[in-house]
Symmetry: C2
Subunit: 152 residues, 2 copies
């Protein structure tokens, strides 16, 4: 670790099935405006962290944790359908933190590697199978208080 661990959550990613439907919910419901969007993903700048909407299948593939379990009603959120993220200041911090979390009772979902969208990340599940992404993202600055700002 290059710094003391911040008590911060950088990003909440919700797996969604219809981006237009979700954008209406967050836009007309909460009145929130995206800070960035493509046909495949939407980000909102929140209070020192980001909220992301991403197709569930993409999120599940990125986490390498398939969803839909037998007997589950389609269309409902699934264990693979959300992830919390904690961003670290350096690429070299990612895998050691994943390892430490696994030792502390977590379950490794994917070892750290470089995703196509840049940066470096891996996933670990907490003891109840809640997914945490540990990421180095040089384009999202983190201030001294752990507040993350969207950047490209």
């Amino acid at each position: 670790m290059t710094t003391t661990m911040q008590q911060q959550i950088s990003l909440i990613t919700l797996g969604i099935s219809d981006l237009a439907r979700s954008k209406r919910f967050y836009g007309e419901g909460f009145g929130w405006k995206p800070v960035f969007e493509t046909p495949g993903i939407v980000f909102y700048q929140m209070n020192g962290l980001m909220l992301g909407l991403w197709p569930t299948l993409d999120l599940e593939a990125d986490m390498q944790r398939p969803g839909q379990r037998p007997g589950q009603r389609p269309g409902l959120a699934r264990p693979g359908a959300f992830a919390l993220a904690h961003n670290v200041p350096a690429q070299a911090d990612v895998q050691p933190l994943l390892d430490r979390l696994a030792v502390a009772g977590g379950r490794m979902l994917r070892l750290a590697d470089a995703p196509p969208h840049g940066g470096f990340r891996g996933y670990v599940a907490d003891p109840d199978d809640h997914a945490w992404e540990i990421a180095w993202n040089p384009s999202w600055p983190i201030d001294a208080d752990g507040r993350v700002t969207f950047g490209i």
Copy 2:
């Protein structure tokens, strides 16, 4: 609404099944220290928002959304096992926002009322069944930037 809607998330609550096991994961894994804890709940002060660990059954009961679906392996996270929260500045803001979210494509889970622990809250599911708590909590101040601070 008494103010313009902030783009803020106040609290992430994870449903957990063993508080000691989870505290070890977050304490030894991330190095995070609780800001408040009882035998039934733990809160961490994060970067302008809170992370809460709460027994899954309590969270599901509070949301009025039962979990465990047929065929699902016990112990895994379930649709009812987490909730995001958006806090508003006044009790009178809670139900109107829930209504607006329902109109925008959400599904009402529970109408706003006063929980035993104080404040006022209701729940709505987003289009993919992700649960959002809309709450008025006079003891958690929200600053002008939407950053929430733990208070009692």
